[in-house]
């Protein structure tokens, strides 16, 4: 099957699956008008958008934004393509730079990440100055023993970063992955926050420990139960550090869990370990002067 075959088969398959689609624009018009009214109504709260953008950037263990609507609106406003077109930001070059610095510290031999710069931007805002990036969050895939994980780096100027107190505040426990939040010190004696995943919530809200002492599943446990247990026991969940640089920029570096469910689904041997990254390596990356946004 070549690429042209694929194109033709897609067309034919859609015809067979969907049949002829009746098009009436009226319902779409009605929904569009409703959205426009709502958008105009919330435009008055745009002043709070900058903070919401950081929450909406999707850092998996950040507290959720209190205002879902504002976050969504802010996320649309923060479309990097639009930002780039408007202010000439070079998000691609900065993303490549950030991931290269990160790889140098946590995977210098390229054992777990691809040598080519394969990143994905998951959050970006402009700084308000021409060509200036306010916040940039980039992920890169992490592959270990057949499991999948994510490397995460987020750099923000102080006014675009989530406040330090919110990292370990009461809302901190609302997300699925719960991390410890420890006051650490860099080799240069500067304060830095760090943590490891401690527990994870199921979709039913039940909290499960990620400690290795979790009770093994019964022999008769089903596929799903065994998979969940593997997640608790061996995925590790990941670890992070949050560092405020002397110039005010805030750096968050994290490695997130290795996906053991995939191993089970794929019938691979059990026992994937925690991502092979130490907290010292994360600290070294976070404190590297090269891991910063251009001023």
């Amino acid at each position: 099957m070549n690429e042209q075959d694929l194109r033709e088969r897609m067309e034919a398959s859609l015809g067979a699956e969907l049949g002829r689609i009746h098009v009436d624009p009226e319902p779409d018009l009605a929904r569009g008008r409703k959205r426009l009214r709502r958008q105009r109504a919330i435009s008055g709260i745009a002043a709070g958008a900058a903070i919401a953008v950081v929450a909406a950037a999707g850092i998996h263990f950040l507290p959720h934004s209190a205002n879902e609507g504002a976050a969504t609106a802010a996320q649309e406003e923060a479309d990097p393509a639009a930002v780039r077109a408007k202010n000439g930001l070079d998000l691609a070059r900065t993303s490549t730079q950030l991931t290269a610095v990160l790889r140098k510290h946590v995977d210098a031999k390229g054992a777990y990440t691809d040598a080519k710069p394969q990143w994905e931007i998951v959050g970006a805002t402009d700084s308000g100055k021409p060509g200036g990036i306010g916040e940039l969050t980039v992920t890169q895939n992490w592959t270990q023993d057949g499991g999948a994980g994510l490397l995460w780096v987020s750099v923000a100027h102080k006014e675009h970063a989530l406040d330090r107190t919110k990292w370990c505040g009461p809302d901190y426990t609302e997300d699925l992955l719960r991390f410890s939040c420890d006051e650490l010190v860099t080799p240069n004696g500067r304060p830095i926050l760090g943590g490891t995943a401690e527990s994870v919530k199921s979709s039913k809200g039940e909290e499960h420990s990620l400690a290795e002492s979790a009770t093994p599943p019964a022999k008769k446990a089903g596929h799903r139960e065994r998979a969940l247990h593997l997640l608790w026991q061996t995925a590790g969940g990941g670890k992070f550090v949050r560092y405020e640089r002397p110039d005010g920029q805030v750096v968050i570096v994290a490695v997130l869990r290795v996906n053991t469910l995939k191993r089970v689904a794929d019938g691979l041997p059990e026992g994937v370990g925690t991502p092979d990254v130490t907290q010292e390596q994360l600290i070294a990356a976070a404190t590297d002067p090269a891991l910063s946004l251009p001023n």
Binding site: E17, P25, R31, G32, P80, S95, Q118, E120, S203, L261
Partner: protein, 172 residues
């Protein structure tokens, strides 16, 4: 014609001309007709709200495409974050019973991870270049190329395997 009437008329013309194609692309992205319809409704509502700006610059198709992909990504990202404990994780290849009876290619596409599926739909259904796909998905061109290669490899393998299975069944 008032400004609102003009907007409504132009928007309606766009919907009539493009909706079927959008539903097709959304169906390939989501693998589910209801989810595809939801996605298209969301995208068109956003387009209506932004119509004057988008229409003036003649960027309706690019805008719709971008919003569709972003909305689809947001949906899968929320799933990853909020429904972490699930048997249906991104990028795992687990053919489910719901695939039975479906078109062979649609089933094979549904088995791809969301990233690879997006790349395939943008590259081969919407005919975008590697660079355009990279810009839409906010990934590097290298990622697009590698995801495309993996996706095509999977599709070729699955379709061949299925055909072999069918032939084997027919002969036994």
């Amino acid at each position: 014609m008032t400004s609102r009437h003009q907007r409504d008329q132009e928007f309606s013309d766009f919907v009539v001309a493009r909706r079927s194609r959008l539903v097709g692309a959304a169906y390939l992205l989501c693998g589910d007709r209801h989810a595809a319809e939801d996605l298209v409704q969301t995208v068109l509502a956003k387009l209506y709200a932004a119509w004057p700006r988008i229409h003036t610059s003649g960027a309706e198709d690019a805008y719709v495409r971008k919003i569709m992909v972003r909305t689809n990504i947001d949906a899968s990202r929320r799933m990853w974050r909020r429904e972490l404990i699930s048997d249906e994780l991104p990028d795992q290849v687990v053919p489910g019973p719901e695939l039975d009876g479906r078109d062979e290619l649609i089933s094979a596409l549904a088995e791809l991870g969301p990233r690879q599926r997006r790349v395939v739909v943008l590259r081969f259904f919407l005919d975008l270049s590697v660079e355009e796909v990279a810009a839409d998905l906010r990934v590097s061109p290298g990622t697009v190329k590698s995801q495309t290669a993996r996706a095509l490899d999977h599709l070729r393998r699955r379709l061949t395997d299925r055909r072999l299975d069918e032939l084997t069944k027919e002969r036994t």
